[in-house]
Symmetry: C2
Subunit: 353 residues, 2 copies
Amino acid sequence: MSELLTNTIKMIKPLDREAMAQAQVRQDMLTKPQGSLGRLEEISVQLAGIQARPLPQIKQKAIITMAGDHGVVAEKVGNWPQEVTAQMVYNFLGDGAGINVIARQVGARVIVVDMGVATELKAHPQLVSRRVAPGTRNMARGPAMTGEQAVKAIEAGIELVAAEAAQGLDIVGTGDMGIGNTTSSAAICAVMTRQAVDVVTGRGTGLSDEQLAHKVEVIKQTIKVNRPDPKNPLAVLAKLGGFEIGGLVGVMLGAAARRIPVAIDGFISGAAALIATALAPELKGYLFAAHLSAESGHRRLLEHLDLKPLINLEMRLGEGTGAALGIFLIEASARILAEMATFGEAGVSEKEE
Amino acid sequence: MSELLTNTIKMIKPLDREAMAQAQVRQDMLTKPQGSLGRLEEISVQLAGIQARPLPQIKQKAIITMAGDHGVVAEKVGNWPQEVTAQMVYNFLGDGAGINVIARQVGARVIVVDMGVATELKAHPQLVSRRVAPGTRNMARGPAMTGEQAVKAIEAGIELVAAEAAQGLDIVGTGDMGIGNTTSSAAICAVMTRQAVDVVTGRGTGLSDEQLAHKVEVIKQTIKVNRPDPKNPLAVLAKLGGFEIGGLVGVMLGAAARRIPVAIDGFISGAAALIATALAPELKGYLFAAHLSAESGHRRLLEHLDLKPLINLEMRLGEGTGAALGIFLIEASARILAEMATFGEAGVSEKEE
């Protein structure tokens, strides 16, 4: 491990119990039956623990959407051409994608990062270039990347979120783009959660039964060739990962190190969370599972992380779209805690015992 | 039935299939795998059918929060004093309640309506007074209100939503406040869904097992005394209802008559929806179940209405808080449809067949 990565992991501390206790006391004084705002109340208390203050705030918001290509597309695991990764990056930069629309509604900035798109991208003032390589190698034949590349990808995420934090950042959402990355994520998920490959492999952007069976076979072969060890999460990332997945590992670690909550998106972000929490178990308290993806392995993935999704709208787009919707609810929880009147302030009678 | 009510019901038309078809065509041209935004896509198409235009918009938003008191509190069905209804109305007017916070975040105006609070309320520029009477009578001993009062309550809702529509209204959320109103709603739910009373009766603002058993007994006695007939929804409202529930029936009918979508909140709004859809079956297409309430009867209620909730955060506050969160998601669906780029516009390749 590099010094930056080791130090970042060391910086991730347990949630602040004192701030959480104070937040809970206030939550119970607000003009509503105790507990009647359900999970919004719990979230506000968790936020207090993350931000280490009794009145957490969610004002500055960002989605970091990372793009990378996957050599495993050579095995025909999907039915979209690889050039779509680059085309969608231009779509993000042109404000035309799903994530742009939802982030605008939520008031979150979108940071678009080239972590390793196969096609050379034209420079753009909004494009952050942290290319590790022009796509990973075909993991069905050998490791997707070297150990050095895996660390480089994670470091890019750490540095990016640090730069965003310097500008002001109260919450970060993770997003991804990469043709072939549900294959990479399913492989990581199978290894890290110790589930059978067919249980955690889904249809991605829309595979037929036959195509799905082939995808499962490719992942099984990948695991056979690479022999990834779940006790060595960095090696799992190198063998099975994508550069965008590595980048998101770094975003999660870097955010938690700075006490910034993370709204994780769907299956690909979830795969990154499996690696990141294996590297730094304390990270778990900083994560919110924004939604349950329609991608079939996601439920098992979240169960393994012991995270309960906030939303279930059967979405499976990625890009950070689920994360952006989740950020809205997390912001609502912080506003409730900060802005609602207490029984005393409003002159409302309390429950009779 | 009054002329206003009859005419309003007649004005409720089926969804516009042509607008829905056009919305679906556009949805499938947007830069994402078809169906990958899950229920957000379906909602956008339903909105097109409601607003009768291929590009529906959700800009002007309102929550109508109606308050009323319930004579059945004399049977000790809850553990909050009746004066809390009035105190919470002042809290709404003072911007200190949960609904104020969430509506502000969503950009929705909150219309606070006195439909029949027991305590005489002080005038306030933001308070809409449509008092039918100072609380209903004790339904455990006889009808909660007269047939004329039931119609008057519904008409108030119709007129109110018409006034809001005149100012501009793209969606309305329903909200309630009334100590005792989960008892009234459970009684309506049992009758209209033909479920056993204990199956649809919940703990409201926090009853013990013993108190819950007593609440069930009171509702059983109420039904025995009143003999409500589910085929006569107006009589069910009169016998078991609250003035705020009647008002919300009117809001739903009046909105649908003007092709305005309705985000229904939790259990009390759901009880109003049971009455309203029985009066006007076409209304169903105009309703969105914003969330699944933690109140135990709500799941059965929504199943009866064949509505699938958008959110499940174990909330049970009422006021329109769930509706306001739901409106955010409904707005997201409209924005997606209107603002995302198509494959052609963005120069993104489509799926290979």
